[in-house]
């Protein structure tokens, strides 16, 4: 029977989902600030990667303990979502445990649900412990780990625990009510069953508790969903497309800029006809920028990377530059990209992560007040410390390509500003003049071949 409660539910759910869609639109817009890039090739390989890395959590298993804890929360999230479907139907149509007709399947589902919910609480508690008590360095340290990212992580973990507790609350109260009415409950609830007397046996109170638990759970879920776009927890959605569109080429292959190729070919061969310059929607030629100074010079994929980052710090913890005390932290590069993108584009409604620079703690590293990704957020010193070793991309559980962003920013410094360190400029000159990065005359290149002996065969 549809009652006032169901109408309220419908309004609340509608608002929650509507708000979420609106936020997603903003994020889509932000990502589309980036340059165009065609990544529609090799769908089967991409699907394969997505199954392994995103669904299968392949790269998480480089570190066992967090991988197992994360797996619990991940599977818990998926299975418990089946119950969310039931909650939505119950909420709209005023039914009660509408999927109960599934019989044994339903029992199994509820059973697994309860076990997972309990494990999720344990896992989240351990995650909180690792962040706040043992302070695992990669989660606790780094200039980019200011007040907001730390609070964000804790918020998520606490919300997850509260959501699970709400689930138990309405399960326990519901079970007791059924028992008092002498009926048989749909489903099997190993944990709630053992706690059945927790809330006493006043039917009115129990009913109230059951409703409060139920509403808390669903409102919690809707609120949580709308918190995602402000949070690193957005990775639970973005990991899938991001892995799908990740780099399929060998890690060592860096992009080639075709505009430069045309320029060089025209230089070497005056009869070479470069293609007509690209034009924008109004037919004006697009001004070629070499490398990236700000977010719109990066590709949409590099911007998508920024929305996918879980701020886990795995990249930074294996970065040779970071390990040896240099300023570079690949995680910071990714987080800065997101902050700058949201400063330039739109920001999510709940909390604006770009504000983290203004949070308490150390000031954001800046060289100038210039408001661009380069210098305003990321300093050349960070960029020049990178050895392009790909340890970061190897370690990232969601296939973010930090090196490509670092390289594009470096290219801007060199190609547009000629702002390379002096020793690199000397190296460039040597290559130009001698065909080698060192100042040796090209004529000496073959000198190594003198006086080589091998044993004669007979």
């Amino acid at each position: 029977m549809i009652q006032l409660e169901n109408i309220i539910f419908l309004i609340v759910a509608g608002l929650g989902i509507g708000l979420f869609v609106w936020q997603i639109q903003k994020i889509r817009k932000n990502i589309l600030l980036g340059r165009d890039l065609d990544l529609t090739d090799n769908p089967s390989e991409r699907i394969n990667k997505t199954l392994l890395v995103a669904f299968g959590q392949q790269k998480m298993f480089k570190r066992m303990l967090p991988a197992l804890l994360h797996l619990v929360v991940y599977i818990g999230f998926i299975v418990i979502n089946v119950e969310v479907i039931e909650i939505l139907i119950d909420g709209v149509f005023g039914t009660h445990r509408v999927l109960g007709f599934l019989g044994p399947v339903y029992s199994a589902l509820m059973f697994i649900n309860e076990i997972l919910a309990a494990l999720v609480i344990v896992a989240c508690a351990m995650f909180l412990w690792r962040r706040n008590v043992t302070k695992v360095p990669r989660l606790a340290k780094g200039v980019e780990m200011r007040a907001w990212p730390k609070m964000d992580a804790n918020t998520i973990l606490v919300i997850e625990i509260v959501l699970m507790l709400a689930l138990f609350t309405f399960n326990i109260a519901g079970l007791k009510l059924v028992e008092l009415q002498g009926g048989e409950a749909a489903g099997v609830y190993p944990i709630s069953q053992s706690l059945i007397n927790l809330f006493g046996d006043n039917p009115q109170t129990l009913h109230l508790i059951e409703r409060v638990g139920w509403w808390l759970h669903i409102i919690g879920i809707l609120a949580f969903m709308n918190y995602l776009p402000s949070s690193k927890h957005f990775h639970i959605i973005m990991a899938f497309p991001n892995v799908y569109y990740s780099k399929l080429l060998p890690r060592g292959k860096f992009t080639t800029n075709p505009a430069i190729t045309h320029e060089i070919k025209a230089m070497l061969d005056p009869s070479y006809q470069p293609p007509a310059p690209e034009t924008d929607a109004e037919g004006n030629p697009v001004i070629q920028r070499f490398g990236a100074k700000d977010v719109e010079d990066l590709t949409w994929k590099q911007l998508m990377d920024a929305y996918t980052c879980t701020e886990c710090g795995r990249c930074t913890s294996v970065c040779p530059a970071n390990i040896t005390g240099k300023l570079l932290s690949p995680r910071k590069i990714v987080m800065d990209t997101r902050d700058r993108m949201e400063e330039k584009g739109e920001s999510p409604v709940i909390y604006d992560p770009a504000r983290y620079g203004k949070d308490e703690g150390t000031e954001r590293v800046k060289v100038t007040e210039e408001n661009t990704l380069l210098r305003g957020y990321i300093t050349p010193e960070e960029l020049w410390a990178c050895t392009t070793c790909n340890a970061c991309t190897e370690s990232c559980p969601v296939n973010i390509d930090q090196v490509s962003t670092i390289m594009d920013l470096r290219r801007y410094l060199v190609l547009e500003e000629s702002a390379a360190p002096a020793s690199l400029n000397a190296m460039f000159t040597n290559i130009e003049n001698n065909g080698a990065p060192w100042a040796f005359p090209a004529a000496d290149r073959f000198n190594w071949a003198e006086d080589i002996y091998v044993p004669s065969k007979n």
């Binding site: 060998p250 040779p320 410390a385 360190p421 080698a436």
Partner: protein
């Protein structure tokens, strides 16, 4: 002794072309292999192996030029493409099909980045090439005596390993030596960079608490333990970095840095 040895005349592509011949492989020497005094010994060792197995090979000699890798990693895409396009013209003019190189940076650039600019070749790193020679029985590596009981640890080059997924070939070459191969804590896909990649080789490191090569050398020394040991590399940059590290730790008496090609040449009795 001397009468048992013959002087090698390294063939160039220009000479071969003049005789209307084509080699089976082009040996791409690279800048470090041509100019770095320490690494020239690796180039020579590799040539000794090529001569020993009788492969028909040639080098470009003075016609070779930097692949452009350091320019590219430093962000100078323009200079990189200049180098690449010029090199590709030379390579294509000689109708080169198969290239072997000892430098992972040249390897990566030639293999992965030249195709975009019209240079399509089968590119092989010398570790893979040596592994094939051993597998085919062309090199026997009777190094039982020279290496028995010696501890060797292999330092993965980022541009061979993570960049191109070659982890096993150099290890198989070392395993054939009958030495005691010990692994460092950070190896293969999790290997730690030597600190030279991305054009770091050509500049002072950014300020920090330590240089990367020192961190890596400490790890290698801890793995080898006391006494004699060898750090094996398969990259000219790694070799420089590891050598500097060993010197910095004043361990050059106990610990030697060798390229896998030198180890094979030694085991084959081709060089001391």
């Amino acid at each position: 002794m001397e009468e048992n040895k013959r002087l090698v005349k390294v063939p160039t592509m220009a000479e071969m072309a003049a005789n209307g011949e084509e080699p089976e492989i082009l040996f791409w020497v690279g800048c470090a292999g041509s100019f770095d005094d320490r690494y020239k010994r690796v180039t020579r060792a590799f040539v000794q192996i090529l001569e020993h197995v009788g492969v028909k090979y040639a080098v470009l000699g003075t016609e070779e030029s930097c692949t452009g890798d350091p320019a590219k990693r430093a962000g100078n895409e323009f200079l990189f493409q200049m180098q690449a396009i010029t090199n590709i013209e030379v390579l294509n003019a000689y109708n080169v099909k198969k290239i072997v190189t000892a430098c992972p940076h040249c390897f990566n650039t030639l293999k992965n980045e030249y195709p975009d600019l019209g240079g399509n070749y089968e590119v092989i790193h010398h570790s893979t090439f040596l592994q094939q020679l051993i597998n085919d029985g062309k090199v026997r590596v009777q190094g039982g005596e020279a290496f028995k009981g010696k501890r060797i640890t292999f330092h993965d080059s980022c541009y061979l390993g993570r960049a191109n997924d070659i982890y096993e070939a150099p290890r198989e070459v070392l395993a054939a030596l009958d030495a005691d191969l010990v692994e460092m804590r950070r190896v293969r896909a999790n290997g730690l960079c030597c600190g030279a990649g991305g054009a770091q080789m050509f500049k002072e490191p950014e300020p920090g608490s330590k240089d990367v090569n020192i961190e890596r050398t400490e790890e290698a020394l801890a793995t080898l333990g006391a006494g004699n040991g060898v750090i094996a590399t398969a990259c000219p940059f790694c070799m420089v970095m590891m050598n500097d590290g060993v010197k910095n730790k004043e361990q050059e008496e106990n610990v030697k840095v060798f390229d896998i090609a030198e180890l094979v040449a030694q085991a084959e009795g081709l060089s001391r």
